[in-house]
C-alpha cells in the first residue's frame, strides 16, 4: 500500500515524543517555566485538533470554535467558585468528573443547537454565523456578573479526579496541582483526541464527511444527506474543544470571557492551517509553532505582532499545505 501514511505516523510520533520529553529535559535543566509553555501548547493542540476535524476532514470553516473552549473553562470555573465561596450546592464541586460531565454536556448541547442552524448555511455565511454564536457566548459570559463578568473568575483549585476505590487499592489520587502530573494528563488527553480523530477520519462516518467536503451535490445524488453527519462532527469537535477548555481553566487557574474573542477562534484556525490541513499531526505542529513563536518573538520585542503578522502572510501566500506540506515536498533540484 501507499507508504505515505506510515511516514506521517513516524514523523508525527517523533513530534509527539519531542513534545512529551522537552519540558522534562528543561525541568531537569532548571527551567520550570517550559512546563507551563508546553502545557499550554498541548492544550491548544487539543483544541486545534478538534477544529481540524471540522476544517480538514469535513471542510467546515467554523469561526466560533473558541466558544467551546470558553464553555468548557466555565464548566470548571463556576463549580469551583461555588464550592469555594458557597452557593448553588447542586452545581458546586471540585470533582473533575463533574466538570467534565458538565462541560461535555453543555458543549454538546450548544454545538447541537447552533450546528443545526449554522449547517443550513454555506461558505462565508457559515463562517459568519458560527462567529455570531460565539460572540453571543462572549457577551453572555460578560453579563455573568456573579462570575466576574468581563474580569473573569479565578479558579482556586484544580479539578480533582478521584477514582472511587482507588485509594483502597493503594493507587494514589492524581495530584493535578503538581505541574508535571497535570502536564501528563493534558498530554494523555491529546493522545486520546488524536486517536479518536484518526479513527473517525478513516471510518465510514469520516468518509462521508470527506466526500461531502469535496462534492456535496454528488453525495446527495448517491442517497446520503450529509447534514446529520456534519452535525455529529460539529458536536464531536465541540466536545473536544470543550475538553481543552476544561484543561485550560485548570492550567491558568483562571477563566474569562476574553477566551471567546473572535481573534482566539482565528488563532486556532491559523494553527490548523499553519500545520497543514490535510494531516492528523498538522494541528499539533501548528499549535507548537504558534506557541513557541509567540513566546520567542514576544521575548525579543513587545512589538512581536509585527513579525508575527508578516509570518502569517508568508505562510498563507507561499506555504501552501502548511509546515507538514512543506516537509513533504521534495526539494527542487
Amino acid at each position: 500500500m501507499n507508504g505515505v501514511p506510515t511516514l506521517h505516523r513516524i514523523g508525527g510520533g517523533l513530534v509527539l515524543l519531542l513534545i512529551l520529553f522537552t519540558p522534562f529535559v528543561m525541568l531537569w535543566l532548571g527551567k520550570p517555566f517550559w512546563l507551563d509553555i508546553f502545557t499550554r501548547l498541548v492544550i491548544l493542540a487539543i483544541a486545534a485538533s478538534s477544529l481540524s476535524l471540522l476544517l480538514s476532514v469535513a471542510g467546515l470553516a467554523s469561526f466560533g470554535h473558541a466558544a467551546y473552549i470558553g464553555l468548557g473553562a466555565y464548566a470548571v470555573g463556576i463549580p469551583v467558585y461555588y464550592e469555594t465561596y458557597g452557593g448553588a450546592d447542586w452545581l458546586a464541586s471540585y470533582s473533575g468528573w463533574w466538570h467534565v460531565l458538565l462541560g461535555v454536556t453543555v458543549c454538546a448541547l450548544f454545538a447541537l443547537v447552533t450546528g443545526a442552524i449554522s449547517l443550513r448555511t454555506k461558505g462565508v455565511h457559515f463562517i459568519m454565523i458560527t462567529m455570531a454564536f460565539s460572540q453571543m457566548i462572549l457577551y453572555l459570559l460578560v453579563a455573568l456578573e456573579e462570575f466576574g463578568g468581563d474580569d473573569g473568575l479565578s479558579v482556586d483549585l484544580r479539578s480533582e479526579f478521584v477514582v472511587p476505590g482507588a485509594q483502597v487499592l493503594g493507587i494514589p489520587a492524581l495530584n493535578m496541582e503538581e505541574p508535571w502530573v497535570f502536564y501528563l494528563v493534558c498530554f494523555a488527553m491529546l493522545l486520546l483526541v488524536l486517536f479518536i480523530v484518526a479513527k473517525l477520519r478513516h471510518s465510514h462516518f469520516g468518509r462521508v464527511l470527506q466526500a461531502a467536503k469535496q462534492n456535496e451535490l454528488r453525495v446527495k445524488a448517491l442517497g446520503i444527506n450529509p447534514y446529520r453527519y456534519r452535525l455529529l462532527a460539529f458536536v464531536v469537535a465541540g466536545i473536544f474543544a470543550g475538553l481543552s477548555g476544561i484543561l485550560f481553566a485548570n492550567y491558568a487557574y483562571f477563566v474569562s470571557p476574553s477566551m471567546v474573542e473572535w481573534t482566539r477562534s482565528g488563532e486556532l484556525m491559523f494553527m490548523v492551517i499553519l500545520g497543514g490541513v490535510s494531516t492528523l499531526f498538522g494541528p499539533v505542529v501548528g499549535a507548537s509553532v504558534f506557541v513557541l513563536l509567540e513566546h520567542f518573538l514576544s521575548r525579543f520585542t513587545v512589538f512581536w505582532h509585527l513579525p508575527f503578522g508578516i509570518l502569517l502572510l508568508v505562510v498563507v501566500l507561499f506555504g501552501r499545505g502548511g509546515i507538514i506540506g512543506m516537509l513533504k515536498r521534495e526539494p527542487k533540484t
Binding site: 476544517l55 470553516a61 469561526f63 442552524i117 443550513r120 448555511t121 454555506k122 461558505g123 462565508v124 455565511h125 463562517i127 459568519m128 454565523i129 462567529m131 455570531a132 454564536f133 460572540q135 453571543m136 457577551y139 453572555l140 460578560v142 453579563a143 456578573e145 463578568g149 473572535w262 481573534t263 482565528g266 484556525m269 491559523f270 492551517i273 512589538f303 505582532h305 509585527l306 508575527f308 503578522g309 508578516i310 509570518l311 502569517l312 502572510l313 505562510v315 498563507v316 501566500l317
Partner: protein, 306 residues
C-alpha cells in the same frame, strides 16, 4: 416616553448606521465581486483616521487632513492590493481570513510605532463644534455633518453603481463573476479600482468618526465584525442591502443601548436590568443576523443570478 430623547437617539442611530454603511460598502463590493473576505478593511478605517489626524495637526486644517487621508488610504490600498491582496483572489476564504488578519497585526503595530500608543485627537474647526437646535431638540453640529456626508456618499455610490458603465460592471461582477471575463473587461484593473474605492470609503468612515472618538490603535477591529454582520444581513454584494442593513443595525444597537434597561426594569430589578441590558443589546445584532440567515440564507437583498 420622552420624545426628544427618542428623536435624539434616532439621530444617533442614523449616524452609527451611516458609519457602518461607509465601512460595509467597500466590504460588500470586494466580497461580492472578488469573493474576498478582507479583515484588513478595519486597518484602512484606522489609517484614514490616523492620517487625517496627523495631517490636520500638522497643516492645522481639517480639510487638508481629509484630502491627505483620502489620498493616503488610496495609495496604501494600491500598494496592499498589488503586493498581497491580488494573490488572494484565487484562494479560499480561510486563507483570505488569515492573510488579512496578518495585515491587521502589521498595520496596528506599524501605527503604534509611528504615532505611539496614545492615539490622536482631531481638533474640529469651530464652525463644527457647536450644536444645532430644532425646538426642544439639540444636536451636535458635527453629527449632522457625518449624517449629511454619509448620505451624500451613499447617493453618489447609488448613482455610480446604478447609472454608470463602471457601476454596470460592478453589478455584473457581483452577480456573476464569470461574465466579466467574457465581456472582455480588464478584470485586474476593475478589481484594483474596487479595492481602492472600498478602502477609501473605509478611511472616510474612520476620519469622520475620529473627531468624536479619537484615532486609536485597533479602532477598526471592533467595528469590522459588525460591518461583516451588516453585509451578511444585507446580502453579499448588494450596496442597497448594505445600506438598509447598516441603518437597521445602527438603530437596533443604539435603541438597544438606550432603552433596553428601561424595558428590562419593567420585569426585573433595576440593578440586574442595568447589567443585563448592555450584554443583551450587544447580543441583539448577532441574534438578528442568525435569525435572518435562518429565514433567508442569502441575506435580505442577495444580488440575483448568483
Amino acid at each position: 416616553m420622552d420624545w426628544t430623547l427618542v428623536l435624539t437617539q434616532a439621530i444617533n442611530g442614523l449616524q452609527l448606521g451611516i458609519l457602518l454603511f461607509l465601512l460595509s460598502a467597500g466590504l460588500t463590493l470586494t466580497f461580492g465581486i472578488m469573493d474576498l473576505i478582507n479583515l484588513a478593511h478595519a486597518s484602512f478605517f484606522m489609517l484614514g483616521a490616523f492620517i487625517c489626524a496627523w495631517a490636520t495637526l500638522y497643516f492645522d486644517s481639517f480639510v487638508v487632513g481629509i484630502v491627505c487621508a483620502i489620498l493616503g488610504t488610496a495609495l496604501l490600498a494600491l500598494i496592499v492590493e498589488k503586493t498581497v491582496i491580488s494573490h488572494l483572489y484565487v484562494r479560499d476564504h480561510l486563507d483570505q481570513l488569515l492573510a488579512t488578519f496578518g495585515l491587521i497585526l502589521i498595520a496596528d503595530t506599524a501605527v503604534h510605532l509611528i504615532w505611539g500608543p496614545a492615539g490622536l485627537a482631531i481638533p474640529l474647526p469651530s464652525q463644527l463644534q457647536g450644536q444645532v437646535r430644532f425646538g426642544e431638540l439639540v444636536v451636535p453640529t458635527y453629527r449632522l455633518v457625518i449624517i449629511g456626508v454619509g448620505l451624500l456618499i451613499a447617493a453618489t455610490l447609488y448613482w455610480l453603481v446604478n447609472k454608470t458603465r463602471a457601476g454596470m460592471l460592478i453589478r455584473a461582477g457581483a452577480s456573476n463573476r464569470q461574465m466579466l471575463s467574457t465581456l472582455g473587461i480588464n478584470v485586474k484593473l476593475l478589481f484594483t479600482s474596487v479595492f481602492i474605492l472600498g478602502a477609501v470609503l473605509a478611511g472616510l468612515g474612520g476620519l469622520l468618526i475620529a473627531p468624536i472618538t479619537e484615532a486609536s490603535i485597533g479602532m477598526g477591529n471592533d467595528i469590522i465584525i459588525t460591518a461583516f454582520v451588516v453585509i451578511i444581513i444585507g446580502g453579499i454584494g448588494s450596496i442597497k442591502g448594505a445600506f438598509v442593513a447598516a441603518l437597521l443595525i445602527g438603530f437596533i444597537d443604539t435603541f438597544g443601548r438606550a432603552f433596553l434597561d428601561t424595558i428590562f426594569a419593567l420585569f426585573m430589578s433595576v440593578d440586574s436590568a442595568e447589567t443585563a441590558a448592555p450584554a443583551v443589546s450587544a447580543i441583539l445584532v448577532y441574534l438578528l443576523m442568525a435569525l435572518i440567515l435562518v429565514w433567508r440564507p442569502q441575506g435580505l437583498f442577495p444580488p440575483k443570478l448568483r
